[in-house]
């Protein structure tokens, strides 16, 4: 009998288990959607990051054009269910922690840029940024700096 590792992993309650691509894609998708409105500017910012991300473009899988389609398929289970956003974020962060602190910082800054793109900080967006900051174990000085700079960038 073949083991369904995905199911076993989910049932174990362990965190993580996403590939780097999947984790980044999930966080950026949630950043654009968590305020309940897919604002055109946030969507444009998210699509831009996804289309040009060195990580998402750099894998072998993207060369045959299937990576983004595969990620889109995998996220279908939760992407329209706001109650899933928190556990997915926590899992994505746990997965990214296995990569490097630099990756975590970079993805956090990209998420902040998306959240601030419409110039309105919804309370769910603030909660997401707090969650990312905590789960990605970011240095507070860096995180504060990122928020201040991206806020300034998106004002005009």
């Amino acid at each position: 009998m073949a083991l369904d590792l995905t199911e076993l992993f989910e049932d174990s309650g362990a965190l993580g288990g996403m590939s780097k691509d999947e984790a980044i894609y999930s966080i950026l998708w949630i950043a654009a959607s968590i305020d309940g409105v897919l604002d055109e500017r946030e969507k444009s910012e998210r699509d831009f990051f996804i289309s040009r991300s060195k990580t998402l473009k750099g894998g072998d899988a993207v060369e045959d054009g299937h990576l983004l389609a595969r990620l889109e398929e995998k996220t279908k289970a939760w992407r329209y269910d706001p109650y899933q956003f928190e556990p997915v974020t926590i899992n994505a962060c746990a997965s990214l922690l296995q990569e490097s602190a630099e990756t975590c910082k970079s993805v956090f800054v990209q998420a902040v840029d998306i959240v601030y793109a419409d110039d309105v900080l919804h309370e769910n967006e603030q909660r997401l940024l707090d969650l990312l900051r905590k789960e990605l174990r970011l240095d507070n000085v860096f995180a504060d700096k990122a928020v201040r700079i991206l806020d300034a960038k998106n004002r005009f």
Partner: protein, 152 residues
Amino acid sequence: MAINFAALFEDADGAMTKEEAVYAILKISVMINGHEDDRERALLESLIKGSKTLRGSKDGAQSAIQSIEQRLAGADSTETLNQLAKDACASLEHIGLEICKSIFTQSVDIMLADGSLHPNEKALIQILAEQMKIPEDFVRMVLSVMASKNQY
């Protein structure tokens, strides 16, 4: 006799509208390294689409964009681009420090979008920071945050 105001102001710094100045700085940020990288161009388009300043103008800033594109078509050297950037900075500086900080950050974001910093880009960052009188600690923070953002 009609006075040609454009010709009279040609030798003075500034005299651009806010929309012209914003577009000029962002477009020069794409052009300054001698070639238009796809990622930098894509970011410029995304920033134009989201820009409150450009979206807020009457015609979606089309006339400002056309006017700057005409001026850039005749810009055949780095020095000419830098001079045009200085004009744009002088125009924005009159409006206020907050817009200068915002456009400076957008410009650095574009220049780092291809993951590397060309010497011409470094020189342009210095020109923008000096001309728009951006505080040094803010410049340092922008470089650190934008480098991190564009790393992955």
